[in-house]
């Protein structure tokens, strides 16, 4: 049996994470691509950390930092009268954090490849910093931005360790499709596990294929 609720939750989590990360990652990526400052390497290392840390370690720290006894957890509880851990909001925050490198790095590479003289030419054409961003930088960095969004979305669908540590396995609240698959395997329900795995595979494959197709089309158009 397909766990539609878990699939819906995963898609919601994936889209929300990508949407939340989009503006933040663009700001961080532009900053890292064009600014030289003291501590830049440390900042880049901190951003890349979720790529190499075991998900359980990241999950443990998030659980500690967001837990009800922590200042963050207490503040959230006081503000919204809700717990941050084992809730969708907590899951979204954790998902946001562990996806930062997947969003920032492709965007950073994309912004870095924009030659300085294009931005300068835009300013000389009278474009403000904001219009230069919309008219020149974003369209040129768009393949990287799209890759970042698709990677974030696909990675969120498949994330297991952090989700389990921070969100647990509450149906309709924190049970994502990856958790549901694990749950079905534990219950020896291989048919459901297989069906859900195939669905996840297809969605991820379709998203990444679309991304490559779009970028390829753009490359061909701009390459003449």
């Amino acid at each position: 049996m397909m766990d539609w609720q878990a699939l819906q939750l995963s898609l919601l989590l994936g889209c929300s994470t990508a949407a939340l990360l989009l503006p933040c990652a663009i700001i961080i990526a532009r900053w890292l691509a064009w600014r030289r400052f003291r501590g830049r390497n440390l900042a880049q290392a901190a951003i890349a950390l979720p790529l190499i840390l075991p998900p359980t370690v990241l999950g443990y720290y998030l659980l500690t930092v967001l837990g009800n006894q922590s200042p963050v957890g207490e503040a959230f509880n006081a503000l919204f009268d809700e717990s941050l851990v084992f809730s969708f909001q907590g899951l979204l925050l954790a998902s946001f954090i562990f996806n930062i490198p997947f969003a920032v790095q492709p965007m950073q590479n994309a912004f870095r490849t924009i030659p300085d003289d294009l931005r300068e030419a835009a300013w000389c054409c009278g474009l403000s910093g904001w219009r230069t961003f919309w008219k020149i930088e974003l369209p040129l960095a768009w393949p990287g931005v799209l890759s970042a969004l698709v990677l974030t979305f696909a990675h969120t669908l498949g994330e297991f360790g952090v989700v389990l540590m921070v969100g647990g396995n509450i149906p309709g609240e924190t049970r994502t499709i990856a958790i549901a698959i694990y749950d079905r395997v534990q219950a020896f329900d291989n048919r459901s596990a297989g069906l859900m795995s195939a669905t996840l595979l297809l969605i991820s494959m379709a998203a990444i294929t679309l991304m490559y197709a779009f970028n390829d089309r753009l490359d061909r158009r701009r390459g003449g």
Partner: protein
């Protein structure tokens, strides 16, 4: 005063030194010439507002764009500068038409399309308006860049080595087009290049720049014939730069006599140099006349120098000759057509004579 001219005075020591005072009138092409890293592009960037120098003042058409003493620095978006970048910096995702239209933000939306068409026509590209930069040749890209620079109705046009990325044939064509364009614009044009020949073709005046300093600003012929000092002379490609001492002046004959390692030479009258003063002097290659070995002529009496050919190298249709005069160790360098070298049997070790034309000798204060 709104005179269409630009007046620039900039000073800074670091990161890139600048020491420049220059002006350029409306309709004038001032070419900034200097070797790579001499600060030419930095100067253009400072005018455009892409960098702010430590000290300086820039005034264009009566507007003060920069006055560091008064704390004035107009943002580059408000400076009305048309800039053509070295590699054009066209926006690769926009068509030729869009590349131009994007710089028309100061016009009403209804005026933008006709103005874009007008500019495309001006640079002979009206049929290629829908093409992306990657679909255009180097010369066509350069034309789009010029049209985009003109789109803002700029108060000054800045061209940063605009011909460096095109082949010779296209370059000749573009140089011609720039000369035609200048007739239609009444704004100052500052053109950066390291190619002196290109500068001589298009400049009304040339400014020689080195280590960020403007060493001399003059008309091309003036700068070539009368460099201010030996530094400028070597930067504009003069090889024959020597030291000498003023022997005496003869105002009646209109000449100054110069002692060069014991040999007396007649130079044009320069009474500002005192007798006995050490000077530097230069003679352009084309002001040296080879004595024909079989048929001596009267012209050979003018500053004759006799010596031995130390080096004789044929390069294409020309032969470069280094002559070691009898009276000193310095070498005189000049070029003759290869057939002349053959006819006169010029070879290393052969003795020959040359005349240094009096009018070609230029005396300079010691730098």
């Amino acid at each position: 005063m709104a005179d269409n001219a630009i007046h620039i005075s900039l000073r800074q020591d670091a990161p890139i030194p600048l020491a420049v005072d220059l002006g350029c009138a409306g309709g004038e092409i001032l070419v900034l010439v200097g070797p790579s890293g001499s600060g030419k592009t930095t100067l253009l960037r400072a005018i455009a507002g892409l960098l702010t120098p430590a000290q300086g003042r820039i005034e264009c058409n009566g507007e003060t764009w920069l006055d560091t003493s008064a704390g004035t620095c107009i943002p580059l978006q408000q400076r009305r500068v048309g800039m053509v970048f070295q590699h054009y910096a066209l926006f690769p995702h926009l068509t030729a038409q869009e590349n131009i239209a994007i710089a028309l933000g100061h016009l009403d939306p209804a005026q933008r399309e006709p103005r874009t068409r007008e500019l495309l026509e001006l640079v002979h590209l009206k049929n290629l308006d829908r093409r992306l930069p990657a679909q255009l040749s180097g010369g066509q890209q350069q034309r789009v860049a010029v049209a985009r620079a003109l789109a803002r109705d700029p108060r000054v046009l800045l061209l940063d080595e605009p011909f460096s990325a095109v082949d010779q044939q296209t370059r000749r064509k573009l140089v011609r087009e720039l000369a035609q364009l200048r007739g239609r614009l009444n704004i100052p044009i500052l053109h950066v290049t390291h190619d002196l020949n290109e500068a001589r073709q298009i400049a009304d005046r040339i400014c020689i720049i080195h280590h960020g300093a403007a060493l001399q600003i003059d008309a091309p012929d003036e700068i070539m014939a009368r460099p201010k000092n030996s530094h400028v002379a070597s930067l504009i490609g003069h090889y024959n730069i020597y030291e000498g001492t003023i022997a005496d002046h003869d105002a009646a004959k209109g000449e100054t006599r110069l002692l060069w390692e014991g040999l007396e030479l007649q130079a044009p009258h320069r009474p500002e140099f005192a007798v006995g003063q050490k000077v530097e002097w230069v003679i352009p290659e084309d002001q040296m006349v080879l004595h024909q070995r079989r048929r001596p002529s009267a012209g050979e009496r003018e500053n004759p120098v006799i010596g031995v050919i130390e080096e004789c190298t044929q390069l294409g249709h020309h032969t470069n000759i280094s002559l070691k005069p009898r009276h000193c160790e310095a070498l005189l360098n000049f070029t003759v057509p290869a057939h002349v070298a053959r006819r006169n049997d010029l070879r290393e070790g052969e003795g020959i004579g040359v005349s240094l034309l009096q009018q070609g000798i230029h005396l300079m204060g010691k730098s």
